[in-house]
Amino acid sequence: MGTIVDLSNPAKTLKCWVELYSDKLYTWAYYKTSNRETAEDLVQDTFLAAVTSFSKFEGKSNPQTWLTAILNNKIIDYHRKRIKDPTINEASQNLPEGAAFFDNWFDKNGSWLKDQQPGSWPNTAEHLLDDNNFSNILQLCMRKLPGNWLSALQLKYLEGKKAELICQELGIATTNYWQILHRAKLQLRKCLEMNWFKK
């Protein structure tokens, strides 16, 4: 490990870390943002942040762990900003905004429209994500969601905290948060059903 962490020579050490870890960090960021350009920007920012806070790295932790921690903060910040970005809402994906969204799913009494009723799915394989075809369809369906919905969804799995806590940090109402999740899930479920489970 001595060659990887030369604390007396930050520039050399960081270059070495870029060689060793940039692909790993990029992969990590990609699966948490579903966007290549975003993942690239975040990894680049992570290394720049590592330069300025290099003195805080005391060689006690594994460099990859340290860099990943910086990256994780940046990923969560990214989603927080996007949830509140009004330019990437329903309209950006040609979805009806506000209450009109639900007209695609439910009648005026709130019952499922006949052709939207969920039915049974065939038994799902245990390791679906190992199947490249499924992964591709999942990515496609995620990309079809408005950016702020996708961020709300990804934050849910990334943070693993109660909604109250996430919303407090985001400065949005809890009601607002699960209503976004509701819309995102209806849309994503339908997309997966049409393209995979009932194809």
Binding site: S22, D23, Y26, Q44, F47, L138, H182, K185
Partner: protein
């Protein structure tokens, strides 16, 4: 009896909302009962609940890139970062 039924009645729209709410926070006592009663009677929402949980499991694994996610190589990014570190 009718009063009690009305009190417990939920629309499918509201039921699916509660299913998603339940996945991130606690439901009130009343909401819990309402949801239980509704999914007992409504097949479509029962399927929705099951599938919503399945999707949660899949997305959790996806976001934390568990399972066999291939390493994505990005040489250009590597070069760009090395260059920005020079400055």
């Amino acid at each position: 009896m009718k009063k009690l039924m009305n009190y417990l009645m939920l629309s499918c729209k509201k039921a699916t909302e509660l299913i998603e709410k339940k996945s991130v926070t606690d439901l009130s006592w009343k909401e819990n009962i309402q949801l239980k009663v509704h999914t007992k009677m409504c097949d479509a929402c029962c399927y929705y609940q099951k599938q919503s949980k399945e999707i949660d499991g899949i997305l959790y694994k996806y976001v934390h890139n568990e399972e066999a996610t291939p390493l994505l190589e990005n040489k250009l990014l590597k070069e760009n970062i090395l260059q920005s570190l020079e400055q």
